[in-house]
């Protein structure tokens, strides 16, 4: 069975992309947005910024933002407990 890197077929008059670029885009599409997910286990770094991938629809947040959301949620829950709610 041949490799997909050699098998991207382009309609004859599509001129805006080269085969190699399309192959890389296809690879990115598969590897980054599909595949078996164990939620919450994916963190990637892009240009030195850590990003969290959550769920199947590639919801991306910076780690800093995610931590802030969790801290805020924690503060709310503590507040609820203290106010007896």
């Amino acid at each position: 069975m041949s490799s997909p890197f050699e098998q991207v077929m382009i309609g004859s008059d599509v001129e805006f992309a080269q085969d190699a670029e399309l192959s890389l885009l296809e690879t990115l599409d598969h590897v980054l947005s599909r595949g078996l997910v164990i939620t919450g286990e994916i963190t990637i770094s892009v240009a030195d910024i850590d990003l969290i991938f959550v769920g199947l629809n590639v919801l991306v947040s910076s780690v800093e933002t995610a931590h802030e959301v969790l801290r805020e949620r924690g503060r709310r829950e503590i507040g609820d407990i203290e106010s007896g709610q």
Binding site: M1, V8, R34, I44, F53
Partner: protein
């Protein structure tokens, strides 16, 4: 100890030739009864998103795919051994079922680009000589009618593609986006022996509708058909 995960497969021969993994790490197999998880030992929490790492991930999956049909993990899945063991234990039946579905199969992808564009000149002509309110209403009406027409035409293309390849595929996933140039993105799970038939059918469809541009890629490991359940909602309260 943490592991970077590439894929899970039914039993794989220990003789399988594997490339180096993420960031040059060695790749090894972890056996869990009838399942084998392909991993690299990894001492970091984060993976850099760059060309080398993405290609390394795909190269390992592809090496396994040459021998068996694995369920690939999404890029950058890093997990402790205890969590991995717990995941496999709790999802054993679902994983086995999904592996059985993809056994001897491969994924092919077809994207269709269509030439539909808004006829701006015609629109401008229609709005000349009417007041701002009427022009707004005309534009709104055109938008609504246009949306319906686009959606109907896009669905027709999706249905035509699905029907054309039906005899070759086991399962399919179609994403139709009427407002995009890339109007249909289809992933098709098919028996590996049907690749040539599939390409022939796609060639025939291309000839049938020469106004459409086809981008076909594959065979891939079944990335689109790998997921077994959605934990998102239970863990994060949203979907």
């Amino acid at each position: 100890m943490k592991y970077y995960l590439y894929c899970v497969a039914e039993t794989i021969s220990s003789e399988t030739q594997l490339p180096l993994g993420i960031m040059g790490a060695g790749v090894r197999f972890l056996k869990f009864a009838d399942l084998t998880v392909v991993v690299s030992e990894f001492d970091r929490d984060v993976v850099s998103l760059n060309r080398e790492n993405v290609l390394a991930h795909e190269a390992v999956v592809r090496a396994i795919f040459a021998e068996s049909t694995p369920l690939p993990f999404r890029f950058a899945t890093i997990i402790s051994e205890a969590k991995l063991r717990s995941f496999i234990e709790s999802r054993k039946a679902s994983l086995a079922e999904r592996l059985s579905l993809v056994r001897h199969a491969a994924e092919m992808n077809v994207k269709i680009i269509w030439p539909r564009t808004l006829d701006k000149a015609k629109e401008d002509k229609l709005t000349i000589g009417v007041g701002a309110g009427a022009a707004f209403l005309q534009a709104k009406r055109r938008e609504l009618v246009g949306d319906e027409e686009l959606e109907s035409a896009a669905n027709e293309i999706g249905g035509w593609l699905a029907s054309g390849v039906r005899s070759c595929v086991r399962q399919q996933s179609l994403n139709i986006q009427p407002k995009q140039k890339l109007v249909v993105a289809g992933a098709f799970l098919m028996d590996r022996t049907r690749e040539s038939d599939f390409r022939t059918v796609i060639g025939q469809l291309e000839q049938e509708r020469s106004e459409l541009h086809f981008l076909t890629s594959g065979p891939w490991a079944p990335y689109t058909f790998a997921n077994i359940d959605l934990e998102f909602e239970t863990q994060f309260g949203v979907s």
